[in-house]
């Protein structure tokens, strides 16, 4: 089912006297990015379940149909494999499709299209056919959504060669990364942490701007240990770092942002400096993307490591649909800090 919380209007890019920045939630920043992409390039199309008339279950596409017309922003039938495959076809035809999948757990019916086609067209046809498709999906927990609405399947996408995976951690980052994703010549999966959609606002430049994909970002500098994280876990790690700072422990926070292509160098540089790393994500641990990150750190920063790289993740169980205990599944600052303490002791 769709959760759906009220939001304020994000239309901030209107007239001449438009402000140069606005205080936006992440969902408003995303709405603005889509609006600007639609305005700038005729080839951009926005579609998915309930994105048209209704403006999306999270209102990320609110107002876009009115402004850009029903041929540019429209509803599809309820079929994710169809949406994905249809999006592939649009992309093959030279359009710049931006599909919305309501929740990342509903990417599953579309995985055949993702694994068999989205990431393969360029490779198998030696560049003759390409799929500049963007797929947005809400992911992750922390807001008491119904069953299956809190999944974090980024590792599956990251294991599909030819597919880029981007997970923003704030309104301003989301806008710049989404505009870059829409410009990108390759398919980009853009996962949006539900927890961040409206949890806070940030000053977002009104003009279109882009952040380069494939770059990790040092979100906070420190020297005792590196927290490696992305998306909804960045605020958790930042909070942990603040708490640690009060105890005089200075943690560095690296926001991966783009899982694929992975910016190994930025992560390694940080860990070489601190000598310790804790990797944090909310997906289940086994075969999660944290394993990949930890394995790379442990391989390439081996001689600089003072302690084993550890992971703070969802447990090896489905995200629990049982509201009263779900906060024990999703990592929080306390669990991150416990792992930090353990690492610092070893």
């Amino acid at each position: 089912m769709a959760s759906d919380v009220e939001t304020r209007d994000a239309r901030t890019t209107a007239a001449d006297d438009a402000p140069t920045t606005a205080h936006l939630t992440m969902v408003q920043a995303i709405n603005q990015a889509l609006d600007q992409a639609l305005a700038a390039d005729d080839r951009v199309l926005v579609f998915g379940e309930d994105v048209g008339v209704m403006g999306g279950v999270f209102r990320a596409t609110d107002g876009l149909r009115d402004r850009h017309g029903q041929d540019r922003v429209y509803d599809t039938p309820l079929a994710e494999s169809g949406i994905m495959g249809y999006g592939v076809g649009l992309a093959l035809a030279g359009m710049r499709p931006v599909a919305e999948i309501q929740f990342a757990g509903f990417l599953y019916p579309a995985l055949d299209q993702v694994l068999s086609h989205v990431g393969r067209y360029r490779h198998r046809t030696r560049g003759r056919f390409t799929v500049p498709l963007v797929v947005r999906a809400a992911y992750g927990g922390g807001v008491h959504t119904p069953e299956q609405h809190a999944d974090s399947p980024e590792a599956i996408l990251a294991h599909a060669p030819g597919v880029k995976v981007v997970i923003p951690s704030s309104p301003a980052r989301a806008k710049g990364l989404l505009l870059a994703a829409i410009d990108d010549p390759d398919p980009v999966f853009f996962l949006e942490a539900i927890k961040l959609y409206r949890s806070s606002r940030e000053s977002v430049p009104a003009e279109p701007y882009r952040f380069e994909l494939g770059k990790a970002r040092v979100a906070r500098e420190g020297d005792a240990l590196t927290l490696v994280c992305y998306g909804g876990m960045v605020e958790v790690c930042m909070r942990a770092a603040e708490v640690a700072a009060r105890d005089g422990v200075s943690l560095e926070v690296v926001d991966v942002e783009t899982l694929v292509p992975f910016d190994q160098e930025t992560v390694l540089e940080s860990v070489r400096k601190t000598g310790r790393a804790v990797v944090v994500h909310e997906a289940a641990r086994t075969a999660g993307f944290g394993g990949e990150i930890a394995a790379r750190i442990a391989e390439h920063a081996f001689f600089d490591l003072l302690a084993p790289v550890t992971r703070v993740t969802g447990w090896d169980a489905p995200y629990p649909p049982f509201t009263s205990v779900e906060h024990h599944y999703r990592p929080d600052a306390a669990r991150v800090l416990a792992a930090v303490r353990e690492s610092l002791l070893s």
């Binding site: 089912m1 008339v53 039938p77 069953e147 090896d316 169980a317 049982f322 009263s324 024990h328």
Partner: protein, 343 residues
Amino acid sequence: MSDTVRYVSESGELIGEMPLAAEELITCYRAMRRARHFDDRAVTLQRQGRLGVYPLFRGQEAAQVGAALALGPDDWLVPTYRETAAAITHGMPLSTALLYWRAHPAGWSFPEDLRILPFYVPIATQLPHAVGLAHASTLRGEDAVVLAFVGDGGTSEGDAHEALNFASVFSAPVVFVVQNNGWAISVPTERQMRNTRIADRAVGYGMPGVRVDGNDLVAMLQVMREAVARARAGGGPTLVEAVTYRLAPHTTSDDPSRYRAGSTTDERELAEPVSRLRKLLTGMDAWSDDAEEQLLAELKDEFDGAVAEADAAPEPTPESIVAHVFATLGADQESARRVLRGE
């Protein structure tokens, strides 16, 4: 609604012969009224923060109750998230339903003999399960039949197609009921598909397809009894399109004013199934205001009891998160469990 099976007009008048006895009708009415009472009270509980997101079924009582009442006790019910009315009619304790919508684990752990699969949201994915359950029944020489629900929107998913095809190839004893309630969240059926009759899809699978006024309990029960009997006799699956209307928002979180005019709903309220059957019964002198009042008192008591029962369910422990991942937990779950226990 030509070609649509109907016995009772929107204003509650009988069209043609009445196939059911008055007592039967009263049983049906009581079940529908019980469902309506549940729905109303659930919404109140949700507003009080005592349920999570709740998908109302207001307006779909006849489709769900009529279908469920066509089943025998050994038959299976395979619902979507919308079918609380069907589920409580087929024997799900009200407290279990409340606990599910409260997102409490006891809402999923059904009594052993309850032949209902739990509500779930991945659209249409339950339909192949229904076929497997049904084929297993045939393979074992049992005569249990499976009733599987899906929405108009859900028919668009690949799994709906695959399940219909498997069912017909295996001649599985399953009755598919599409509740065409006009909407898939904000998308009206006309933009979900081009065909005007969902029942027409049956032709493509070589199975009978029936379109029925899903707000007419009598029609619904008749059509379903026939389909269930056919399935039980080895005649294979049927596709039933129950034409109904989602009078309520998609869920308690939804704001339908973003995509449909309030006037549409008001008009549809006039044809809603519970009062339609009540009108029929009243016209037959088979139901009175007193009977209604007494029924409501009973329903209130029953519901209050269920709430009390649900409230008494012990809070899950943190370690319940990793319980039941496997019959025997792996080392990864065991170590998680120790952490969750605070060991």
